[in-house]
Every structure is written in C-alpha cells, then in structure tokens.
C-alpha cells in the first residue's frame, strides 16, 4: 500500500505536521473577512482558508484541511509566512517557496502541497470580489505554458474553473497546443492538477 521511501519528510515538515500553526479551532470565535475552499474530499484532499484583512494586509488567518501530512505541513508553513503580509505579495506565493522553507518535500508529494496557496488565493479573490476589486491581482504571477499562443497557467486554471475537464475541452476553451503542440505534456499535467483541485 505505501512505500517507506515516500516517508522521508524533513524535521521541519514533521514539526508542522505535529504542531500545525493557525489551525481553525471550532470553539474559537474567529470572524473572518473572507474564506476560500478548494479541493475535494473525493480526491483525498480539501482545504479551507479563513482570513482577516485590514488595509490590504492579512492581519490574521485560520485554516482547516482534510489532507495528508504534506498538505498539513505546507499549509501550516504558508499560514506563518503570509500572516502580516500584504495581500498582493501573499497572492504571489508559490508552492515551491513553501516546499523550500519546509526543507523540501518528496517529489510525489509536491502535488499535495498546492492546495494551501490555492485556497489562500481563493479567499483573497473572494475578499476583492466583495469590494468591487475583482481580478485585481489576476495574471500577475502567471507563467506562460503555450508560447505559440501566449497561454498561461492562469488561463488553464480559469478554463477548468469554467468547466473544462478533458484535453479536448481545454483546447476548445483556450486553443492551447493547437500550433506546435510542444506544451502538451506540461499543459496536461496542469489540467490534471486543476481538475483535481477545482473539479467535482
């Protein structure tokens, strides 16, 4: 069922897994200004972020997850990093930054660590939406995947949020990979990842 070599977590991961920071306590009266929920229990992980924002700064936050050790540890680390940070900067945090601070994660566990920042961004987006500032940071941290057509990971993410589930549907929505096709491998990985996070 599981392989021992997948368990080589760093001491920092173990510490954040054992004593996660800023976990939502049901008994605590935490009044959030916005929340973001991503992932799906059926896929094995789900993440909720609750944030308080004053003057575009995250003053406090809580989170909950149904997830594995990597998901718990990376979200705990993320929550420490973004507390007191401006929302624009927090919005740009990448899973790789968190993995680095954790002293690395096993290769096959990286995908487990991407939910935290997605949930955080969803919470920030929801906060912006409520203030008529929708999409203010969108595209800032986008990475070009299909260089022929200038399609970014954000475009793929948006297509999946809008309902694309298969490669054909993604092409229908974005025209990705219809020129040289060189991006297909990476684009399909992202599609798989986003369907996992945003799909139902």
């Amino acid at each position: 069922m599981s392989d021992a070599f997948q368990w080589l977590y760093s001491d920092v991961v173990k510490e954040h897994f054992t004593n996660p920071k800023n976990v939502f306590d049901p008994d605590e009266k935490f009044e959030a200004d916005a929340e973001g929920l991503v992932g799906n229990v059926k896929c094995g992980d789900q993440m909720l972020f609750l944030i308080k924002i004053r003057d575009d700064v995250i003053t406090d936050l809580r989170w909950k997850t149904y997830g594995c050790a990597s998901a718990i540890a990376s979200t705990s680390m993320l929550s420490e990093v973004v507390k007191g940070m401006g929302i624009r900067e927090a919005y740009g945090i990448k899973p790789a930054d968190i993995a680095r601070r954790l002293g690395g994660l096993p290769e096959n566990k990286i995908h487990c660590s991407v939910l935290g920042d997605k949930a955080l961004r969803a919470a920030i987006d929801s906060w912006l939406d409520k203030r008529g500032r929708s999409g203010e940071f969108a595209g800032e941290d986008a990475v070009v995947i299909c260089s022929c057509l200038g399609i970014t990971d954000k475009d793929i993410e948006q297509a999946v949020k809008d309902g694309a589930r298969s490669w054909e549907q993604l092409q229908e929505a974005t025209k990705i990979g219809t020129v040289c096709g060189g991006c297909k491998g990476r684009a399909q990985e992202l599609l798989h990842e986003y369907v996992h996070i945003f799909g139902d």
């Binding site: 069922m1 599981s2 094995g44 149904y66 594995c68 566990k109």
Partner: protein, 409 residues
C-alpha cells in the same frame, strides 16, 4: 522516553521466525548447485526436496512434485497467466496435457493483487476476453455474476479458459468461497487458479478440498525469507515456463536453485502447518479486541470487509474526516506501523481499488487503515494502539474541513 515499535503490517511482510533464521544462518555456507550430480549437489538437492514436501503438506497437495519453486507470489501468478496466453493462442503447453479448443475467456476479480490485475490486463491487451468480477460490500465475489459469465449463452467472450480468484484479500482480509467457485468453474470446463498468498498460514488451505488446478503461495508472508515462493499445479495441469533455461523444476522454472531460500521456506511451511490452529485462534482474539476497542473508543468508524469470513489477523477500518496518510504518519510517530488505502500513500491520485470495489466511496477509502497482526503481536501492543489511536483521529478530525460546519462572518 524509549521509542516503542509496534509492527502491525504483517500482511505486507513478516519477520523471519527465529527457528528459520537459525537454520538459514547455519546453512549459509551450503553452496553446492542442487542440480550437480556429486555428493555435495545431491545433499543440497535432498534439502530442497524435503522443503518441497513440507510446502506440499501445508496446502494438502499429495504429490510434492506438484509444487514448483519460484521467486515469489508475483512470479507464480504470472506463470499461470503466461500459460493461459499460450493456451488461448491454441498452443500445446510445454508441460501437461490440455486443449483449449477455442477457450480464451479469463475471469478474475476487481480486488486481486496488482500482479494478477496487471497480468490479466496484459491478456486483455492481447485480445483475450477478460472479466473483473465485482464484489459485494463485504468484499465477496458476486457468484451470480460468475455463473452468468461462465455461461456463454448469457455472456460475451465464449467458453471460459481460466477462473482466478484470490483466496483471501490482502487489504480487507475477506475470505472468498474458493471451493464453490472452483466447483462452478469446473462445471463449465474452466481451469481454476487461486492466489492464496495471504491465506496460507492464516486459515486452512487444502487444494483438494478447494478443487483448484493452480495455487500461488509466498514464503515471506509466513515468517520465511523473501525472494522465494511456489506455484502448485495439479498433476497434469498445463504449464508454460515464464523463465526458460535449464531443466530445473521439471522444466517449468529455470534457474539455479535458491538453496537457502527454499530451505527457509520448507521450515517456515512446516512450522506454519504445525502452529496454524493455535496461531489462528490467538490472532482472532487479538483482532477482536482491537476491533471492539476501536469501535468503542472512536465515533463514526466503519470496519471494512466481511464480519466473519475474514482472515484472523486483518482489520481494516475507515475513519471519515481523517485522511489515511496523516493517520499512518501519526501512528508511525508513536512507533506503530500500519498501512493505508489512501491515494496519498500510493503515489497516485486513486485510493485503494479494493475498497472502491466494495463500494465504500472515495472518502472512506482515503481514510482507511489496515492493521495486520502477526506472531509477535501481544495484547499489550493492542492496548497501546487503542490508547494512541483515538486522540490521533480526534486531532485530525478537529482540523478537518469535513467534520465541522464552518461559518465565516
């Protein structure tokens, strides 16, 4: 504080029994090729033949020559499926007598070990009609469906060549009705194989009572060394070698004998046969204690598998709201070694195919833990697990998105 070590993953593998270890250390210097004609070779060969008789006795085979030593369960299973590949293509087998007469259909189950699943998928890729029988909520094979699949007038794929059903499941421990299945398969003229890797040494296994043509067993699951196993093939049953070469194992499995492994296998088999009634009763009591304790101390637990027709050492339970890998790692930090059906522990995004086949749904499969007990498990260890597990589940559930309703301002 002294770190505890409580091993509850005996279905994954078992430690060497002290007696087996002692024998293997003693015989470490026996190097003669058991196929050599000289005195040293003949002595080595005699040890192998004695081991073969012990393994035959463990599964009720009357003639030790019906046992072929292999590198383990995966090889034994692949040998059977490789044989079906040749038969289904209309070839005469290298060993035994058999005419497939157009039979190509292979029936197995949705809960087999990956080595059977993948060997069966390979046959499907080669154009063989392959059926993976569904199981019920407790992991038992749907016999009505088997009957229909065996009847060419009620199903596709023509007459059946092979029915392969595992004797007991490695993940949930459910014991299948092999004697009934074999009877039905025989009536339809099919060959019958059972992967008894998890059953052997835990429940009585008798190839004649079950009526199977082939049976797979592995040594490292019965407190013997890794890298050795056996395939039982009824005298006259068709066989095609997977490993070609010399004349070892009646031409069915080439390669210089693994003397040491086979000697260890022989002793492990002899002791497993001797200890079975006592071992099985003791393990069943420990499993019951663990099951009762978990159900009593943790709310909302689902025990997976069959309530009574289950291996005496295997307990699989799901803890909704808590994810399996997190449970496993938390137990690991307390020195408790178990396994999980969660996708997070498998490197894929798919949870256990066995639990999914029983219909428990992905959330329960992701939150499943298998406790498999063994010879060295004590009552005190079971109590230790019962002390450590409830707070772990409570902690993970408390931080879970699944368990509590959350409202933001």
């Amino acid at each position: 504080m002294q770190q505890r070590f409580v091993y509850m993953d005996y279905n994954a593998t078992t430690p060497l029994r002290p007696e087996v270890k002692e024998l293997m250390v003693r015989d470490l210097e026996v190097y003669a090729n058991a196929s050599s004609m000289h005195e040293a070779g003949r002595r080595a060969r005699a040890g192998i033949e004695a081991a073969r008789a012990s393994v035959a006795a463990l599964i009720g085979a009357r003639d030790p020559q019906e046992l072929y030593f292999t590198s383990g369960g995966s090889e034994s299973n692949n040998t059977v499926f490789g044989t079906m590949y040749e038969l289904g293509r209309g070839r005469a087998p290298s060993v035994g007598r058999y005419r497939a007469e157009g039979r190509r259909k292979v029936i197995t189950t949705a809960i087999e070990h990956p080595c059977v699943m993948n060997a069966a998928r390979r046959l499907a890729d080669e154009g063989f009609p392959v059926v993976f029988l569904p199981v019920d909520g407790q992991g038992r094979v749907d016999l009505a469906r088997l009957e229909a699949e065996l009847d060419p007038s009620r199903s596709e794929g023509g007459p059946t060549l092979l029915v392969s059903v595992m004797a007991a499941n490695n993940e949930i421990g459910t014991v299948e009705e092999i004697a009934r299945i074999a009877l039905m398969a025989k009536a339809a003229g099919a060959l019958v194989h059972t992967d008894a890797t998890q059953a052997v040494g835990k429940i009585p296994v008798d190839v004649h009572a079950w009526g199977v043509d082939y049976l797979t067993l592995s040594c490292h699951k019965i407190y013997g060394p890794k890298g050795v196993g056996a395939l039982y093939a009824r005298s006259g049953a068709p066989l095609e070698p997977l490993v070609r070469g010399g004349h070892q194992e009646q031409g069915v499995r080439a390669g210089t004998y693994n003397n040491l492994g086979i000697l260890g296998f022989g002793l492990a088999a002899e002791l497993a046969r001797r200890d079975l009634p006592e071992f099985s009763a003791r393990l069943r009591a420990l499993r019951e204690r663990l099951r009762e304790g978990i159900v009593a101390r943790i709310p909302q637990v689902r025990v997976n598998g069959h309530p009574t027709e289950v291996l005496p050492n295997t307990l699989n339970a799901s803890f909704p709201g808590a994810e399996g890998e997190s449970i496993l790692l938390s137990l690991d930090m307390e020195g408790i070694e178990v396994s999980t059906g969660s996708a997070c522990a498998s490197g894929s995004l798919e949870p256990s195919h066995v639990l999914m086949a029983t219909g428990v749904g992905p959330e329960l499969a992701h939150g499943s833990i298998r406790f498999s007990l063994g010879r060295d498990t004590t009552e005190e260890e079971v109590e230790y697990v019962l002390d450590k597990l409830p707070p772990i589940i409570a902690r993970l559930r408390r931080m879970s998105t699944v368990s509590a309703e959350i409202r933001s301002a």
